[in-house]
């Protein structure tokens, strides 16, 4: 147990950590407070200050000032979470929000209390969004906000639900709230409103209150299980019963044939006579403006896409039976009564009076249009070619990767991966925002130089690699096979005549040694590779590609680098399906050192890609210069344990990971990561190009 340090020593330490000499920071008060603490807590706090100050000195200073009180208020893990939360704010939004987060430690502590019994949107986003996808057939996004509402594409929900006593109950509450928002979209709540240019707020409010009653009745019919949970929640929250006049209206609104239009009519009748009852707990609100904007954009987009899609259906049919005249074919629709459908009928698209063969994505489009409009307008049934619409309507806009990183929407379009936290012994959910980026191809003399330099070696490599290609071989004297091995049979018969036992190895079998291998090379592009390591890596890749071309194995190359969990990048150098040529060579030449060596995300992402390829053997080869390391907490044991976990996951999914490294200390940690037989340490960087091909050859034969 560390002994408490004296005040002077603490002050001196803080002065140094917080660079007081060059600032107006005053360490007297924090040092005095820290000096009062018992030894272990002192040590703990000072180490935190040190870690935070390594990110930003001012943040470290604030932690020094608030730390003692915060520590008294929080459990150690909450304290840690508070620091991480502040650091995350710093990563995402900058210094000021981070300082605010440190200042608001009391609120944080309270929130943590709520978190313990509550449910976090972040934790349940995956389950909830798939739940919604299952319900609706139109992908709905989830986002956190202060209010509960939807713009018809995204459901906005508070980041934390904690009104109920247990996490499971709070999750159910989330789910029921999602279902209510979904019901607004599904059962056409917005449709009649959009026809009124500017509805007065009172009417809107009354309509919304009434509409919720209709929707609940709908939920009760379509999702009785969920409705039971909703009622349970109300019971626990002790929601008051509906006031008497509302109860009568509720009965009316529960009729199966009630539509949103009828609710609006009812609201008009009751306007002035009825005021909406006080809002219930966590009420769903109505943001008509948000819906209006979002819907208008989508309707325009989907109209274009639908008409273009119908056109391509016609073209497809034309291709299959060229005899028919496409001009004479006509789309129409058929509506059939269906009480379960929001508008009381279902719509089917017909082609020449027969159900049209619409591909999946067109059907999804049709569902989405039906959700917005309740029907497919006749105008939509006139097919149109892609040239007749603004091309931007036909595709989703891809944002530039650099813009994405700069803005606050850094997770947009990113792949999110979990990361293993060995101290907490669980995954940090969707922790790493991973993006694939392009390497700028560099057309310089690197390729020519390298090919020249290793001229003789390449020839040799090609030869050895060619030797690895197997042809089909006829195996003789097999116990099982397709054909009789006549030689063996003759021998066996003569054996039998002589009274020996007859062998059963009498058949031939064709052995097909197809090399069914897919390999991904995962190349370290961290800053530490700058210089000759980077050169050696690039040379190795080039030689390897040259050799692999003669072998015919499927391979892909990606570089990886990380700068905190928010910015995990995989640089695409060669896809599986891409041919090796000028462009790939130029990309290899263009490999440049980037930031840090975060490894877990790269292994996870590339494992996913490997798994999606069809091969009997899948290999992931890492080319690295050091141990996992990133500037947030991804150092030391944390990084090693996460990488190890990612490798375990990869192995579990049938991938063989292998590591080639030039880190001389690698023997200390690589066996722990890759297992004793799945790594090679190359002592001399200069020999890397030679070794890589050699190792590859050994690995795949």
């Amino acid at each position: 147990m560390p002994a408490p340090r004296p005040l002077a020593e603490i002050r001196h330490l803080l002065d140094e950590l917080l660079e007081v000499e060059f600032s107006f920071r005053d360490t007297a008060a924090p040092a005095a407070a820290i000096a009062e603490l018992p030894g272990p807590r002192q040590a703990q706090l000072i180490s935190w200050i040190q870690r935070v100050a390594s990110t930003h000195v001012e943040l470290g200073y604030q932690v020094a000032c608030q730390g003692v009180e915060a520590q008294a208020l929080m459990e150690p893990d909450t304290f840690e979470a508070w620091i991480f939360h502040s650091m995350d704010r710093y990563d995402a939004e900058g210094l000021r929000p981070a300082l605010l987060a440190i200042e608001q430690y009391r609120q944080f502590a309270e929130q943590q209390q709520a978190r313990r019994r509550g449910a976090l949107l972040l934790d349940h986003e995956g389950v909830l969004s798939r739940f919604l996808q299952g319900l609706s057939g139109r992908p709905l996004k989830l986002a956190s906000a202060d209010r509960i509402y939807t713009d018809s594409e995204t459901l906005y929900l508070p980041p934390l639900f904690s009104l109920l006593p247990s996490p499971a109950q709070n999750f159910q509450h989330y789910k029921a709230t999602c279902a209510l928002l979904w019901a607004q979209i599904q059962f056409g709540s917005f449709r009649p409103l959009l026809e009124i240019p500017s509805p007065e707020p009172d009417l809107l409010q009354l309509y919304h209150a009434l509409e919720m009653l209709r929707l609940e009745a709908r939920l009760k019919r379509t999702l009785p299980g969920l409705y039971r949970e909703l009622e349970q929640t109300r019971l626990i929250l002790q929601e008051p019963d509906l006031p008497a006049p509302w109860q009568a209206l509720s009965v009316k609104l529960s009729a199966p044939d009630m539509r949103a239009r009828d609710t609006l009519e009812l609201a008009r009748q009751q306007l002035g006579r009825l005021t909406p009852y006080p809002p219930r707990h966590l009420p769903v609100t109505l943001d008509l403006e948000a819906v209006r904007i979002c819907m208008a954009a989508r309707i325009e987009k989907e109209r274009a896409r639908f008409k273009v899609a119908l056109n391509s259906v016609l073209e497809e049919l034309q291709r299959n039976s060229p005899a028919e005249q496409p001009q004479q074919r006509r789309f129409s629709k058929r509506q059939q009564p269906d009480t379960d459908a929001p508008e009381g009928f279902t719509t089917e698209i017909l082609l020449d009076d027969m159900p049209a063969p619409l591909p999946d994505q067109v059907q999804a489009l049709q569902r989405s249009i039906l959700l917005d409009l309740g029907e497919i307008p006749d105008e939509y049934l006139q097919p149109a070619g892609p040239g007749e619409y603004d091309a931007t309507l036909l595709q989703d806009q891809n944002r530039d990767a650099d813009d994405v990183w700069r803005g606050s929407y850094h997770e947009e379009g990113a792949h999110l991966y979990d990361e293993w936290d060995f101290q907490r012994r669980h995954y940090r959910k969707q922790w790493c925002a991973v993006r694939e980026r392009e390497v700028t191809p560099r057309h310089d003399d690197f390729v020519a130089r390298t090919l020249e330099k290793y001229h003789g070696l390449i020839k040799h490599l090609r030869k050895t690699f060619e030797a690895m290609r197997h042809e089909n071989r006829l195996l003789k004297r097999q116990p099982q096979g397709d054909d009789v091995d006549i030689d063996a049979l003759v021998e066996a018969l003569s054996d039998a005549h002589l009274g020996f036992e007859m062998t059963d190895r009498l058949l031939t079998r064709m052995q097909r040694d197809e090399r069914d291998i897919a390999v991904i090379f995962m190349v370290d592009m961290s800053g530490s590779t700058k210089g000759w390591i980077n050169d050696a890596e690039r040379e190795s890749l080039l030689l390897l590609c040259e050799a692999l071309e003669s072998l015919g194995d499927r391979y892909a190359i990606y570089g990886f680098s990380g700068m905190t969990r928010k910015r995990c990048e995989l640089f695409h150098i060669k896809y599986f399906e891409e041919p090796y040529g000028e462009l790939v060579r130029a990309r290899i030449s263009g490999i440049e050192p980037q930031d840090y060596t975060r490894m877990g995300f790269a292994i996870r992402h590339l494992s996913k890609i490997l798994q999606a390829t069809d091969a009997k053997t899948r290999i992931l080869i890492t080319l690295s210069d050091g141990k996992p390391d990133d500037y947030d907490s991804y150092r030391g044991q944390y990084g090693i344990e996460d990488t190890r976990r990612a490798l375990i996951e990869a192995r579990r999914s049938g991938i063989h990971p292998y590591c080639i490294t030039i880190d001389e200390e690698a023997r200390d940690y690589l066996p722990h990561l890759y297992g004793p037989a799945a790594y090679s340490v190359v002592d001399d960087v200069r020999t890397l190009p030679l070794k890589v091909s050699d190792i590859y050859r050994r690995l795949t034969t």
């Binding site: 995956g126 389950v127 909830l128 798939r130 739940f131 996808q133 299952g134 319900l135 609706s136 057939g137 992908p139 789910k175 279902a179 379509t222 999702l223 009785p224 299980g225 969920l226 949970e229 063969p357 999946d360 397709d482 054909d483 009789v484 049979l489 066996a492 018969l493 039998a496 007859m502 059963d504 009498l506 058949l507 069809d614």
Partner: protein, 268 residues
């Protein structure tokens, strides 16, 4: 190796099959004209049942071969065996069907090796012959012989897609899940479950089909619904029946399982 007796492959009792369109007429017309047929559609939507029904209707034996990675041409055509010091040739299922005028149904054809698929080419065009290289003979197909293959375009990977030279010999019938009313009817009929619950099961299937491509490879098939319905008819709680018979069959991903289970618990 067991010797096939073709009569074992005759279907005497009418299999239950609900047509969804004009597939029966199409198949019959194709059969009468000696045209081979390709059945496309998601797993468990009734392709195999349709074949059984057609075999019953046409009064032909049905030989089904489930294709897989290691299925060789010999597995289909036949091979030499050695018995008591003598070699003897034994016909494979395809040869038997060709000789006896049966229907040979190659299920999930894309799973078979590419060189195996080529064996059926001369049978699938107007030649209608099966060359047996090892015997040096050419067998002409019985007039009643038919060949049908199936595959699932959504599920198989692009790499394993059917070769153009194969697919362009076939009349293609597209199968999909039946519409909700019909599917409910099928579930009721096959399981004896009451209509209300069967209807909800079908709704649940629709929800899982919404998840296709967003984490699920396939939605729940009619076959899975029948399994769940049978459990429910036997008194199993509907939510547990859906978990056991459908959710667990669809995915191993814990998060996906949770989502699918939340859907079923919301419905029942």
């Amino acid at each position: 190796m067991r010797t096939f007796k073709l009569d074992e492959y005759r279907i005497d009792d009418e299999p239950y099959y609900q047509p969804t369109g004009d597939e029966i007429e199409l198949f019959e017309a194709a059969y009468r004209n000696q045209l081979p047929v390709l059945l496309k559609g998601p797993t468990g939507c009734g392709k195999t049942r349709f074949m059984e029904y057609m075999a019953w209707r046409l009064k032909r034996p049905l030989i089904t071969v489930s294709c897989h990675d290691d299925l060789t041409a010999s597995d289909l055509v036949g091979r030499y065996l050695i018995k008591g010091g003598e070699t003897s040739w034994i016909d494979g299922p395809l040869t038997q069907a060709v000789k006896a005028g049966g229907i040979c149904y190659l299920d999930e054809i894309v799973e078979a090796r590419k060189d195996t698929m080529v064996v059926i080419h001369p049978l699938a065009d107007d030649r209608r012959v099966l060359p047996i290289e090892k015997l040096g003979t050419l067998i002409e197909a019985d007039p009643e012989f038919a060949i049908a293959i199936s595959y699932n375009p959504g599920y198989q990977s692009v790499l394993k897609d059917l070769k153009q030279s194969t697919r362009q010999r076939f009349i293609a019938l597209e199968f999909d899940y039946p519409d909700a009313t019909l599917e409910t009817e099928i579930v009721v009929r096959e399981s004896g479950l009451e209509r209300e619950l069967a209807g909800r099961l079908v709704k649940f299937a629709g929800m899982t089909r919404n998840l296709k491509g967003s984490g699920l490879e396939e939605g729940a098939s009619t076959r899975l619904l029948v399994h769940a319905a049978k459990l429910m008819a036997a008194g199993v709680n509907p939510v547990s029946a859906c978990q056991g018979a459908i959710a667990q069959a669809l995915t191993d991903d814990p998060e996906m399982l949770a989502s699918v289970n939340e859907l079923s618990s919301s419905l029942f």
